[in-house]
Structures are given as C-alpha cells and as structure tokens.
Assembly symmetry: D2
Homo-oligomer: 395 residues x 4
C-alpha cells in the first residue's frame, strides 16, 4: 500500500506539474489520404487558444499553448498573448515550420542552395520576434529535411550545411532563450532524415552551446527502441529540453499519449521522477518542457486533449507513488523480481482517486473528461462556429 | 556465365512481360505534411493516360493503365478507353476508393451503420460499370478501414460486416471478372486495420470464391517480413492475383520499386519465375497482374515510372538468368553456400546489355530513361499544361 | 465503478480459469551467449513437475504441466502421470522437438531427405504414445525449420514436404487428440522460417482437418503486429487452439508474460472474453489452452512462474470487468473516446483486491508471490538438490 | 561505362584494402536452440589462425585475425603471434569477454557490486597484455550488460558505473592503443542494454578521450535504421573506429555480410569511399578497421569467410566505381533521379571481372570460392582433425 507520506509528496508534485498544449491539436489533422473535419473546430489562432484554455479550465495543469508559425501567424502577437492571459493561459514554445514552402522540396536548412537555407534561417528570426512579443522562451525546431533515394544528395554535406544553419539560428537567441532540436527517424522523407536520432540531435546541440537542447517526440523512433533509456541518457548529459508526447503502434501515429502503451509512458515518467526532473530545474534554469504533439484525426479535439493530459497525470502519479526505497534496496540486492515488482506495484495502483482529490482540492471537477462532456461546450462551439475555414496544418 | 539457351529463353519471357501503370502516379502525391506540385503534371484522366502511354512508348512493356474511381471519373468511359487505345494502351484494373468520403471516418465496408456500408458497396457497382465500359477485368479493393484506439470498435463485428459487404460486391462481378483484395498493416488507421495481413485477405477470399484473389503491395508489411515467402505461399494456394509494386525503408513509403532493396525485388521475381507465374496462366485464366503503385513525391512522374518499369525488368531478367539446374542440384545436396551462390550469381550479373538488346529488337531506344530525358517531352508538357488544377489524390 | 454483478461473474470466471505451465521453465535457459544456473534448479522431469505443482499450490489455477520430449523422456510415463497427480497436477500438452538432432541442421519435417523427415515424423509417434500414457490430448508442434540464405532451399518444395509430413503426423492422432501447430517469424533460422506466420499455420491446419489448430506464441511476430487482431481472427474461423504466453520487447525474448506490455496482454484477454473463449468450449470440445512458454534466464524459476500466472490473472480479471454494455453502446454510437474509455477504465482498475478475495475464498494466501517467498521453499530446494546436472534445454 | 581512370584508381584502392577475420568464425556457433558441429572444425587458437590464414591465402586481403579472450587464451602469446606470422597473417584486435562468467548474470562493468566490476576491469588488463605480446593496437569491448525487466536496476546508476569502469580500462592503454566501444540494441538482455545505440557509445567515447572510438556492428540496430547515415555521422565527428560486418534480416542474425541486403553494404561502403576512409588515415593514425563478426551456423566456416570477404570486396569495388563527378553534379542540381542513378549505375555493374583481374595481378586464383572448393583442403581438415573438442563460443 502507498504510504501517507509518499501520497502527500505525490500530491505536491502533481500540483506543480504543467503540460503544454499544441495549438494545432485544435485544428484538423489527418493522413495523406484524408483530413476529416468536425463541427465546431477552431478557425484561427484565437479560437485555438480559447479551446486550449478549456482544457486548462478542466484539468488545471495545462497553462501554456505552443504556437506554430506560420499556422498561428497574427498581426499583433502582443494582443494574442494578452488574449491568452485573459483566457487563463500563456504562450509556450514557438514552433517553426520547415516543410510547407514549395522551395523546401529538397530541404530547408540543409538545402544545397544557400538562398533556400537563408530563407529558412530568416523564418527563425521571425519566430524569435514572436517569442519576444509573447514572452516565450523556447524555440522548437523540427527539421523535416531528408532524402527519398540513396544518392539523392550528399549526406555529409547536408550535415555540414545543417550545422552552419543551426549556428546562425542559435545566434539569434536571447540569453534566456533555448533552442530545442527535435529528431525523427522518417517522414516526410523515406530514405534518410537529416536529424534521424537523438545522437545526431545531441551532436548538433553540443556544437551549438548550452542553450541548445534535445526534444524527444515519443513517436519518432524505430520499432522496439527503449525510449526511457534515451530520456535517462539525455537527462544524464543535461540535454533533455522537452517532450513531444503522443503514442504510436506503427509509425509516427500521433495518437493520444498513453493510449497505445500506458506502461511505456509510466516508465518514461519514472525516469523523470527518478532524476527529479519533473519541475523546473532547482537552479532556476528551465527544466524539461512536457508538451503534447498529437493528431486527433477522428476523435473530438478538446476531449482528446483533456484525455491526453489526464493520461500524463496518471502516469506521473504512478511514477510518484513508486516506493523508491524498496526499489533501490531490491536493485542493490540484485533481486530481479522484487525490483521489477516495486515498479509494477505502483503501475497497478488505481490513481484515479488520488487525481480526483487533487482536482477537488483545486476547485475542479474530479473527472475532467466527464465534466467537459456534460458542459455542453462542444455543442455550443458547433453552433457558434459556422462558416469560415477550419484550421488545419495548412493554415 | 549465362548459357546462350537461358539467355534466349529470358529474352522470350521478357518480351511477353507486362507491367501495369497506375493513373495516379501521374498526378501529384505527397505526405500529410505537404504535396509538392511540378510543372507539366497531368490535370485529368486523359492527360494521365497520355502520360502513361509515354512510359509504354519508351519501355514497350507497360500496355495498361489502372484507373482509380472517383479520381478518374469521366462522363464517357468508352471514350476514355478509345482514347487509351489511340495512345497505344488499354485500361487495366479499376480501383475503388473507400477513404475519401466524410462518411467513412469510422469505416466504409465495416462501418457500424448499414447505410454507410451500402453506400460503399454501391460505389463498387459503379466500378463494375466502368469495368464493363472499358473492358477491364480486375476490380481492386484496398480496404482502408480500421480503428485508432483499442476498444474503439468491435474487431470481430467489423470482420463480420466486412464479410457481408464483400459478399455483396462479389455478387456484382461478371464471370470473367476478378475481385482483388489488398491488405495493409497500418495507415490510415493506427491501432487495427480491418485487413492487416495476407492471412486475413486469404480468409475472406476463400469465403468468397474462386474469383477473389489477394493483392500483395510490397510496402504493406511489418518490418522484417519475408515478402517472397508470402508470394510463394499465395501462388501455392492459387490466390496471388496481383502485385502493387513499390519500395519502402520504413512505413508505406511508396518509393520507386527496387530503389530501396533491389535484392528483395529480385527474390520476389525469383519466386514468380520458379512458379512459372510470369505470364498469364497456361489454362488461359488470368495470371498475376504486375502493377505499380507508387508516389513520386519529389521526382518527376514520367521518368519515375520509366525507372520503376526498368527496375522491375532488371529484377525479372536476373531471375530468369538463374541457373535453375545448378540451383536445384545444390539445394538437393544441402550445399548451403552453393545454392545461395547459384541465386546471387544471377543477381550479380549486369543485365542492362540484355535489356538494351531486348529493346532494340523491338525498335526501342536501348535506354528508356535517357531517351525520354533527351526527348524534350517533359519541357513540352510544362509549356503546354498551363492553368487548370493538377491532378492529385483528391481529384 | 465496477457493478457487483459484473464483479461476481468475474470471480466465477476466474475460478474456472486454468493456465498450463511448461516443464522446461523449471530448468535452466539462456541465450546463445550464456546459460546461468542457480541453486536448487530441477534436475529431472520429476523435479520439474514437483516445482510446477508448487506454482499450482500457491496460485490454484495452474493444474497442468506441458512436457517436452525428449527433455522429459522417462521410462514410465504412467508413473510420471501418477506422480503428477500426487502432486496435484496433470500432464498437459506434449511438445515435440525438431531442433536438437544433428540431422536437423537443414530441416526436419521439411528436409530434402525423406529419411530425415521420416525420423522427425516417427518422433511424433513417440509423442502420441506419451499422450496415451499420460492422458494428454494436445500434441504441440513448433516447427523450427527454416533457411538462412536466399536460395539455400526451394521454399515451395519445403512447403509441400511439410504438408506431407504433417499429414502423416495427423494420421497418428486419436479422435480426441488435437494437433496444435505453432508459427514463428524467425529463429533459429534467419532468412525464411517454414511456418513464419498465422496464415501459413492456418493454411496447413485447413488442409489437415478439424483436429488441427493454430498455436499463437505472443513472442513470435514481427514488430508492431497487432496480436489481439490475430486472436480475434483465429477465434472467428474456429482455429485458435492454444497460446504460448510470454512477453517481448525485441525478438522472441521469452520474458514473463505481461512484463513488457501489460496493456497488450489485457487487450488479448479482452478478445478472449469478448468471444466467450475463456473456458472449454460450450459443446464440450476442447477450447483454447492457455499455456506459458518462457525463459527465466536471470530470475528464479518458481517465483517467475508464479508471477507469470498472476499477471495472466490480472489481465483476465480486468478483461472480465469491462462494462461490455457501455462498450458496445459507445462502439455502436461511434463514440471513439467513450468506447476506448470503456476499455481503459477496466484496465485502470486495481484488481489485486479482487484476486486476493478469489484466492482467500479458495483457501489460498492472497499474495502468492509473497507467500512463496516467505515459505522457505526455495532455500529448501537449494539445500536438497545438491549434485547432479540441472535440467536445461539440452536435457 | 566505367572510365579507365576510375577503374585504375579502384584497382589501387582494392589492392590496399584489408579485412580482419574473427578467430571465432572458425569455431562452432549456433543459436540457443542448437550448435551444430561439422567435420574439420578448428579445436584451438592455433587451428583457428591456420584457418584464417587460408582465407587470406585465397583472397589476399585478409591479413589479420582478431582474438577473443578467453576463447583464444594460450600460454605464450608471442608464440601465437609468431605462428600467425608464419602462416602469413598478423594478430588484430583483442576482444574482451564480459558475458560468460557466472558472476556477470546481472552485469559486468555496470554491476552494482564493485568486486564484480573490478574483476571485469582486470580482465581488460589481461587483454592489454595480450595486445603488447602480439603487437595488437585495438582493444575491442562489446558490453553485453543489460536488464530484462523494467525496474530491475537503476538505468542511470548503471551508466555512471559504466563510465567509471571505462575510465579505468582506458587508463590501461598505451598511447598507440585504441579502445573500440561497440553498441547493441538487444541480446543477451531484453529490456535495456547499457550501450544500446551509437549515441550512448559516443557519449562515453567523448568522455574518455581521443583513443576511444565507436564500433559499428551492422547487425546491432533496430529495424529500419539507416546504417550508412550513422557511418557518415561517426566519420564526421572522427569517431568511427571499426566495423563488425555481418548481415541480418531480423535480429542480430550474424549472417554472411552482404548476404541479406547487398545494396545496403554498397551504400555503407559508398559513405566510406566518399569520406576517403577506406585506408589508414592520411596522418598515419589508425583508420577504420574493417572486421567481420559472423556465425556460420550451418555453412562451412572457411568458405563462409571467403564468401564474406569477397562480398565486402564487391561492395567496395562498386563504391569505388561510382562516378563521383556525375553524382555530385546531379546532387548539386537537385536532380533526384539522376543522382540516384549515378549511385545505382555503379551498383548494377558486374565487378567480378575487375576483382578477378585484381587477384590475378596478385598471383591469386580469380575465384577464391571456387579455388578453395577445388583445393581439397576442407576434406584434408576433416581427415586430420579427428578427436579433441571443436572450438566454440564456450572455449
């Protein structure tokens, strides 16, 4: 059974936990085959932020929204930030876009043509301006560049061009900014991505400096990769900047985090708790940013995000309930099954009552999914948001 | 060295080989992130057929074009067939579309709502009409249905609904028609596809009858699946209806066939040759239909298709050059390295001279890729096809 | 919350559940790199059965032990059966061995040499004799045959030889016997296994007759295969004979079932419960045999098996607690998140109290793992079993 | 067609190429299921070296033999080195063994118990002594340590203990020595290996210093990993120390290099040639050591090694024949298909005549596989090596 002390400490940690929502989760998404729309989907950045604020309203732990430029381009970012504040949330990481210009067919930061690279670098200057206008401190860069055919381009030359481009982007940062560099094994290119793995991301971050850190998207690995090991290693070398949480069974499926393999999410959060990395770093520097990055292709967006947040909370709560003394004692003793059981006992625990208590103590409904469903908000959106064009990856 | 007899027989077989082109390869395609256009891309079915005819003109072995309904919907299919004939090609398999209607969000032939299933079945009646109008004998059905989350729907009920829907479609066929049932492990759904593997496709074909056969798309398997084994097994049970050729490194990458792993393509063609299944079946019944199904996301379409055809030809030529007496003798003797070498010796052979001879004997340029590049046709298309909307998966 | 009725029905079903233990789990196992021994490991079939009986003593749901011939070869099988009965367990499936004879280097039932095939077939006659002597009704055949290099042997000829061999083995069966045919994607051969997938196993079972059924080993699939789908499909076509339970992260890791992905095990058991296939079939015919097949390379054997049994029980209990009315209603309504939640709510439930109640109602300790650890039995074995050679896969 | 200049330069490079053979390839190997023996297999290090020398005799490019301690432990290493010299070969890398002591069940360099770690470190002192006695300069360390169950041990603590152990081993090196650190995704442990990927290996090498470099075993990655990208990246950061060549379809299959995917081997060698890393580094420092690491489970050992060497030569020859001017021009121009074709044209070339010429110019038979088969040597070994115990991984 869970000791009262551990339970109390878990509640404290859960109270301090924050999860960042992606604005694009509130627009439509899909596959190359079809993007399905749904009544009430947000049509612009303001509506996306309003929707994100709903998620925060019901969960209490999602106080920031990541923006994606140009999808969230507005004339007045200060006004957008003020609107977010009114809604009870803040602007989080600024995501650049390197995949939707016609010029990027063969690459952006790695393109053989300097003019294309310069354009891609300049786009980050715009993003840094958005950061300054909104108070964001995280510039997130996912490099979609890659090649489809062996020989199509010189892999080494692309790395060298990439290093140069990243250096120029890094130079744009203010001292309190971070550059978060994501990796991905494949898609949208299918022979060689230019940042396919954490090793490559780390090599570039080390070359850049302390403000550069790695983003781990849980859907961006080869089958059977042990993700919690990478979490541990990046924490160990001080370079885990952020998560893009989602889940997958096959490719980069971008399903609701924790939906495909809740035990994996728990193991990831266990490495976070073990390294005391759940909150901001003790020295006041930025810690790990726990962000969602998902596609609600067939399910409704706001409920999908609420479910995602509660899934992360459940995994975190279980990780916090691990009896670490028992765990470490068994590990030291070489008691394989005992140590494994110390971990799985926490996973087997039903933490829904604990999270209900957490929410009620904060004045929230104990079950955010049910509360939102009962609110009638989704129907209201469908009635209100008539006409216009629903937001999607294209805009 | 290759014996003169084997070489002569190979030339005969290569002369008889045909490869079917997909109309949609001549429109734009891409990923969920971006679809890049290019100058001169076809804008309607007529232009797609004209482009396919170019591929046949330069290779001599691509005399049929698969249509996709509704992407290739026209008012007068007989006229389209006549146009194709003028261009020197014929209409091949008719592909139905079960993924682009808004109603299909949760399934088509497997949908819980009978009205949706009926609509999806009725679409196949339209396709059968197109077959009658164009002389096509193959109705190809790729079922994109599936679920994204465990529990989302009842897997067994979906199979039963599918079996019923397929039965109704099968009943639409004329005696000379075939129903070709494709399988795919994932995408566009990410938890469970309703026809995920050859076993499921076969189970349904067996229930339907002799006119139902399996389509093997080379990109639709789990990592490390031995595809040539499946080819062998489906041939053994008399149910290999067709290939959708392409190649992959990761997911369903839809790259040019033979580009990712030419040795795999050779091993596949080796099973075909070993089973004497390269041509139409000896009893006059339809044999294996060798079709391409690819996405030329970043490379030009017509050259991409020409390259695909020549890749299949090279793999076929190598398979035909295998010294089967030596191979079988070594196999019978348990000579592991000798038998392997009998196969790889053929793969190591440079068959480009043989194929050049084949083409020249048919009055073609020995190098179709170079000949097309030198023709100026691509520039002509870019100059001619100004305005309008380029074809893509959406239309 | 779980309704009292559902809880009561779950207890009934759990009371009727049985799990079969493999004798070889009580001997040593390891990798090609090293087999580690441990004090007290069983040295012969009698000791293995005694150890298995311990697992049944503490869990109450493991009343059968699978034998493996020749590892469990004894002079008097009737005596072995009687000894098992004394210990409180019965003899379950008889497993043949087709991989340890020097003659099997290039295959057993598929070997090009009829003499080798005949020897492998004759081995099954011995196994059937063991079945008759012990009252076992399941003959389990895992075919380890395969090839390491493309071309090494003729894939089709191997299938035909296999079909012939299986037919001869099938002819040995008594009417109440079943032939359970397992499949495996790879290992011990690394190019093409001769029964690599459920489709191939099914093709052979269909050719053999109703007494032939498929065995699904949860570790024998390609990465990212949806196993519960296969469970559903085999149940649907009436050919799921048995499970070999274990868990994997990479290859055929043979870890404790439920240790790597407890949600997957739950989903598998959910398909079993959904199809009402947990117990013997209602018509009195044999149902699905739930067997373990694992390697306790580094953990102690008896505790490893107890943990395996309790993991299966926990997954079963959760599957039984699914609110199927709510699930089906949400599925019919197309409520993606609601249906998913109906499933995951059961998974999130802590079923340890329910299982404790189940055990106490049967006069057992509520926590079999703890009870066995406290019993001192393991130390007693280490003290008693001095000298001799510990059992392993070799003997 | 290949230009005469390019052909001449290719011949020069092929003349300078060396491939290192593993002593253990000449002993028996197998799977956890069975190790098959064969007549004439070597029984001790002397016979293994004699067998390796045969491979060099027929190929002319395999002048070194890696040793594995303790499998190749002898009383007098200087005598072993002298024997090798007499046979025409030299001692190459010294491989340590961290997986066969009973104490290593839970780890070696990462073990929680300092005494076990000290023992594992001390083993490397022995290896360094062997290096001094034999003139070897490469200490190769494959860490088999890992865990089977989540929670079994503290992943981070194991990294820290590993870093400390590696530091102590590094301190044992002479200035001309290198420490080559290998990585592997799984096996013999199945939850988390302690050096699972190139990133982890690199992190440790960077912490150690310039004498530490990464070993890339081509069979040690997750499915669909792009290996040539890793080759490029490790060359780029100056840390590619060596290859362990073999090939795989599924796990760490350890098949003959180039047998499973010859195009992949070609792409790897293409990165090597592109980076001018085929020979020793220009500054006199050690370059990449091209080693084989394979298991000839069912095929004869010496012919298996000869075939492996010729496969590497063929891939190298093709890489050397790439028209790099054409390749780079097409790459710069963004000519996707043209650049791809520049690569694949070289792959399509039959390089067997070139290699025959290379061998004949060195006084060798043009076909080493055929020449060895015709030599009668294998029969002679079978006749001579009667009695004794054949070498294997155990000794």
């Amino acid at each position: 059974m869970t000791s009262p002390d551990r339970r109390a400490r878990a509640l404290d940690a859960l109270r301090a936990q924050t999860i960042e929502l992606p604005s694009w989760a509130f627009g439509n998404s899909g596959t190359r085959f079809k993007v399905f729309g749904a009544p009430g989907v947000a049509r612009d950045p303001w509506e996306k932020i309003a929707d994100a604020a709903q998620v925060h309203r019901y969960t209490g732990v999602a106080p920031r929204v990541s923006l994606h430029i140009p999808w969230d381009r507005v004339e007045d970012y200060a006004a957008l930030g003020a609107f977010a504040a009114e809604q009870g949330v803040a602007i989080g990481a600024i995501n650049s876009n390197l995949f939707q210009d016609d010029e990027y067919r063969l690459g952006s930061l790695t393109h053989a043509d300097r003019a294309v690279r310069d354009r891609a670098i300049a786009h980050h200057a715009e993003c840094v301006e958005v950061m300054r206008a909104t108070g964001s401190t995280d510039l997130k860069l996912w490099l979609p560049d890659g090649t489809n055919y062996a020989g199509q381009d010189d892999l080494r030359a692309r790395q060298d061009r990439l290093a140069d481009s990243l250096q120029q982007i890094y130079a744009l940062l203010d001292p309190e900014h971070r550059l978060l560099v994501e990796y991905k094994i494949y898609e949208p290119y299918f022979y060689a991505m230019d940042i396919p793995d954490w090793g490559t991301s780390l090599v570039h971050c080390l070359a850049l400096g302390d403000q550069a850190q790695v983003v781990l998207d849980t859907g961006h690995h080869a089958p059977s990769t042990n993700i919690e090991f990478i979490v541990m290693q990046l924490l160990r070398v001080g370079r885990l900047g952020a998560f893009d949480f989602n889940s997958r069974n096959y490719g980069d499926d971008d399903l609701i985090v924790g939906a495909a393999d809740p035990f994996q999410l728990f193991r990831i959060m266990n490495e976070i708790v073990e390294a005391d990395a759940l909150g901001r770093a003790g020295d006041g520097t930025a810690g790990v940013n726990f962000m969602l990055d998902q596609c609600h292709n067939i399910e409704p967006k706001i409920p999908g995000q609420i479910r995602s947040v509660t899934n992360v909370q459940e995994a975190t709560a279980k990780a916090l309930l691990v009896d670490r003394d028992a765990l470490h004692t068994a590990q030291q003793a070489g008691d394989v099954l005992g140590a494994h059981a110390a971990l799985t006992d926490a996973f087997a625990t039903d933490v829904r009552p604990l999270l209900a208590e957490l929410r009620e103590s904060a004045g929230l409904h104990p079950d955010p999914n049910a509360a939102y469903a009962a609110s009638g908000h989704q129907d209201q959106l469908a009635a209100d948001r008539v006409g216009g064009t629903q937001a999607s990856w294209g805009a």
